[in-house]
Point group: C2
Chain length 219, copies 2
Amino acid sequence: MTGQPALPPPSARTRVRRFHQIASYDPQSVHAILDAMPLCHVGYIHNGTPIVTPTLQWRDGDRIFWHASSASRMIDSVLEQDVCVTVSLYDGLVMARSAFSYNINHRSVMIFGRPEKLSDTEKAEQLRNMVNKTIPGQWDRLRPVTPQELKATTVLGMSITEASAKIRTGPPQDDEADSTFPVWAGVIPVRMQVLPPEPDPHNLPGLEPPAEIASFHIG
Amino acid sequence: MTGQPALPPPSARTRVRRFHQIASYDPQSVHAILDAMPLCHVGYIHNGTPIVTPTLQWRDGDRIFWHASSASRMIDSVLEQDVCVTVSLYDGLVMARSAFSYNINHRSVMIFGRPEKLSDTEKAEQLRNMVNKTIPGQWDRLRPVTPQELKATTVLGMSITEASAKIRTGPPQDDEADSTFPVWAGVIPVRMQVLPPEPDPHNLPGLEPPAEIASFHIG
Ligand SMILES: Cc1cc2nc3c(=O)[nH]c(=O)nc-3n(C[C@H](O)[C@H](O)[C@H](O)COP(=O)(O)OP(=O)(O)OC[C@H]3O[C@@H](n4cnc5c(N)ncnc54)[C@H](O)[C@@H]3O)c2cc1C
Ligand SMILES: Cc1cc2nc3c(=O)[nH]c(=O)nc-3n(C[C@H](O)[C@H](O)[C@H](O)COP(=O)(O)OP(=O)(O)OC[C@H]3O[C@@H](n4cnc5c(N)ncnc54)[C@H](O)[C@@H]3O)c2cc1C
Ligand code: HEM
Ligand code: HEM
């Protein structure tokens, strides 16, 4: 019990049917996956065709946000329709004894909802949030943002009310009958690795990266 | 010149408008990204709502494939509509001198098209391909696939004719006026790391993973 408000029961479109035993709908599980992976894929309809756009998302409380050019085709489209935002992590290859039981250890979230364009005040606040959630304190170290830059940028926000998560962990689950089939089974784990920073060759002499980059991680 | 047939010029919906300087349409670039990342996000419309489903894709020549339960809602939906399949890799955080110039080093591909359900013969062949592209030679080491398992599985195939790639590499690109702003700039590279295999605790004694797992990598 963390005191967080419970999500409403899954809606018709959010209820997981396939592999439902690995589904969850509680905010803790959903939020943990969103916080682990900034990359999301936003699905919307444009001229009758579905479009899946890789984009960065960040979370503040029970809303997620993403940013784009104010001139992007996405902006006008998504204000008039429900979108699907999906975040997923590939955590490992699950090698079973039959090809049919092969699987991927994974974490994923699907959120349905209607995005809203943030007001100017909220936009500035959330862009600051985006930067500082990536590298703590970085916003105030950077060349200050200009009014023109803010104007060129739109930030969309969406409530995380209709959301589901699927999480698979652990060894393969072969059929009982296959358990003695003589082939090696197991998991090859995979994760995102952050490498040492590469300074811009044009850096002024003597500049060092902020200590806070040590907290940058994905996964 | 590799002798591969050229893609047709980008269609209206495939032509990159935003950051078009980092776009490419040649099959080599598109294929290299598909081959680097098995995880894709398939966008389709279901009951009027866009759905973005994380799924595994693999490529054979100029087609991509993915598999799902024959009972999945995706199967019926996508045979009657164009879908968007997106593959993307987060290769690094690009820390510029202004927040506006922050970026992500990335590789991504967007493909539009109409998927087709494979015939039984082609399905079996492509599932074998899926397994052997993941771990060379693994299909023949596994408990042989059964007719019921094949029946429960649908494989979709789609031509890679309408495809675009976006690739960003290298240091930040600040505005000239910001080049002397005294803040560290650079890139924090990120990549997928494959960890040592974890044997299933139920493995028969003496079984070892195939040497070919050494070739398993993502990115
Ligand atoms: C890394 C990765 C790789 C995958 N590879 C494959 C693959 O190759 N083949 C395959 O069939 N499936 C794969 N999946 C699972 C896939 O994302 C779907 O969950 C599955 O295909 C069932 O889709 P459906 O629309 O039929 O599900 P349904 O259960 O009918 O979907 C109903 C509702 O459940 C929720 N839901 C469904 N899928 C997810 C999800 N992944 N995360 C969170 N909520 C979800 C949504 O709210 C959805 O509207 C993969 C998932 C991940 C994360
Ligand atoms: C890891 C990652 C993170 C990203 N984060 C953000 C972000 O936070 N904000 C943001 O605005 N953008 C982000 N992008 C870029 C984003 O995917 C879009 O390219 C961009 O938003 C422009 O979208 P659009 O629909 O307006 O483009 P348009 O140029 O109008 O799209 C026209 C056509 O160009 C092609 N195209 C567009 N985008 C891509 C792509 N990514 N890959 C391949 N082909 C493409 C498609 O064929 C599309 O139909 C990110 C991309 C990646 C890979
Ligand atoms: C490299 C090999 C393979 C991998 C990594 C793999 C991975 C996956 C994953 C991640 C899922 C989704 C599970 C979920 O919803 O959480 C899935 C579903 C499925 N796979 Fe595979 N798979 C592989 C090979 C095969 C083969 C060869 C078959 C058939 C012979 C098969 C049949 C199925 C079926 C039928 C489903 C849908 C299950 C359901 O929704 O009820 N898979 N697979
Ligand atoms: C952590 C900080 C940030 C990161 C990692 C980031 C990353 C990105 C990425 C990856 C793109 C897409 C580029 C492409 O299409 O290839 C983008 C676009 C954009 N970003 Fe950011 N961004 C950040 C902060 C900001 C801020 C603070 C602003 C505004 C003040 C901003 C304004 C924009 C605009 C306007 C675009 C669209 C450009 C265009 O399509 O012409 N970004 N950003």
